[in-house]
């Protein structure tokens, strides 16, 4: 039976959002368990690559950054502090720092703002979404976000704009960035919560049908 991508993500997420499992993976990483890196890659590489590609359009360079990121995560796993946040949040921070270093070293920093995001935010947001919006579930979620909410999350999360850069890009006061970010995230969480409900219904329906069919 075909399970929509959004459902798969939420099912996987439900499994990995468990703090115990995350802690287990971190322990494996720190102990340099041979399989843990492959597990970590399988679970997070695509999400991290999506974030990298939001900042770096060149695929080859993006791939280099992703490799650097996993090597660094592997080397510094013992520096991750679970009391400060989730593993993925830390991995995103490590990855983003490397992406910025890579951009700076190649002097892409200024180009990035002009070449990759030429005019409007809608153009900028389309960059990270063009390939993924083919997925119906993602399109449904993204379409539920207002344009201004979507753009601020995209700029901050996928394009790593600073608050100041966002205020300039969207032409809003610096103080408004914080409150609009809050509003955007509240909206996103609301949508995901609703999708989560719809998803759990879909999962139980799937399970019911599987059970009924004897698979």
């Amino acid at each position: 039976m075909h399970i929509p991508k959004i459902t798969r993500i939420l099912m996987n997420f439900a499994e990995y959002s468990d703090k115990g499992k995350e802690a287990q993976m971190v322990r494996l990483l720190i102990s340099r368990d041979g399989q843990s890196l492959a597990l970590l890659y399988e679970r997070y590489s695509a999400a991290l690559f999506g974030i990298i590609r939001g900042m770096i359009s060149d695929e080859e360079l993006g791939k280099e950054v992703l490799q650097d990121a996993f090597v660094k995560i592997w080397q510094n796993a013992d520096k991750y502090d679970a009391t400060k946040g989730r593993l993925f949040t830390w991995m995103v921070q490590v990855t983003r720092r490397l992406a910025i270093d890579s951009i700076r070293s190649k002097q892409f920093k200024t180009d990035r703002k002009t070449d990759m995001l030429p005019d409007s935010v809608s153009n900028a947001s389309s960059l990270s979404e063009e390939t993924n919006l083919k997925d119906i579930g993602l399109r449904r979620i993204v379409n539920q976000l207002d344009e201004q909410h979507k753009s601020i999350i995209t700029l901050l999360y996928f394009q790593d704009y600073t608050q100041k850069e966002v205020s300039e890009e969207l032409d809003i006061p610096l103080g408004t960035v914080k409150t609009r970010t809050r509003k955007a995230m509240e909206r996103l969480r609301g949508i995901l919560r609703n999708e989560g409900l719809a998803t759990s219904f879909a999962i139980s329906l799937t399970e019911f049908i599987k059970h009924y069919l004897g698979h």
Binding site: Y41, G85, N132
Partner: protein, 269 residues
């Protein structure tokens, strides 16, 4: 500060998004440590962004994981601190395993090749044995046919044996017989016991009819199997009274017998 207001301010979102400076970060972490609801809120924001990131996931190019694993492997010997685990020798272990696997493969191939050759040799041996059995079987069949024919000949009431006995001076224990069957027009010589001829000599069979001189019936060698019948030329005179004799002559025989070398003779009858 009112916690609810703090949560609604958006500072936690910016914290998770990594947009605060070090001082602001420290302040948020302090609040999170003091207020569990702040901790819970941060976790919820992180989860939402994680799901959002997964939704925007892009599969990296093929082979990326392999390159990462290679780089990590190369890092281990260069970085002793990183190789504190139990697997620093794994690349060497891997090589050892590869070499071992290769050796096992070669041995298996040799064993299989050797086995094949052995099997081929066995098949050839069995084939040769089968051929030889088939040949001897054919020979036995031919022999059997001959034996049955001889038996038929001997059982025939028209067959008459003429016994030759050894002469006292030469071979008193010698004995032989000629079987004649005038109806079938056949005759057989059966040497039961006769000493082996001296080198350069051959036994010669003679037939004496009435008062005539002995007539040459040809030379013969001792049968390889005692008692084996040897067919001899049939003469019409065999139907009447005849005498058979055997002398030892020079190889090839002579027109007339050397009677000093008489070994066997039958009674006239």
């Amino acid at each position: 500060m009112d916690i609810k207001e703090y949560i609604l301010s958006g500072v936690l979102e910016l914290y998770v998004l990594g947009k605060l400076d070090a001082q602001e970060n420290a302040a948020v972490e302090l609040m999170a440590a003091q207020h569990p609801e702040v901790r819970v809120e941060i976790d919820a924001i992180e989860q939402a962004l994680e799901v959002y990131a997964q939704l925007h996931a892009q599969t990296p190019p093929q082979g990326t994981l392999g390159e990462i694993l290679n780089r990590v492997d190369q890092l281990r010997p260069a970085n002793p601190a990183a190789s504190a685990g139990s697997t620093p020798q794994s690349p060497r272990l891997f090589m050892v395993l590869v070499i071992a696997a290769a050796l096992v493969s070669i041995m298996a191939a040799l064993w299989a090749f050797n086995g094949k050759r052995q099997t081929e040799a066995q098949i050839a041996g069995v084939q040769a044995r089968l051929d030889s059995i088939r040949l001897s079987c054919d020979a036995i069949a031919r022999e059997n046919v001959a034996n049955l024919a001889e038996l038929d000949f001997l059982k025939d009431i028209a067959t008459r044996p003429i016994i030759m006995r050894g002469t006292p001076g030469k071979a008193p224990a010698a004995i032989a017989a000629v079987y004649v069957n005038p109806q079938q027009g056949k005759a057989y010589l059966n040497v039961v016991n006769l000493p082996a001829p001296t080198p350069g000599k051959q036994y010669q069979l003679w037939v004496i009819v009435g008062t005539n001189l002995p007539a040459d019936m040809g030379v013969f060698d001792l049968p390889q199997t005692p008692g084996l019948l040897k067919e001899i030329a049939f003469r019409s005179e065999f139907a009447g009274k005849v005498t058979f004799a055997v002398t030892l002559e020079d190889a090839g025989g002579k027109p007339a017998p050397d009677l000093t070398q008489l070994y066997l003779i039958s009674e006239a009858g």
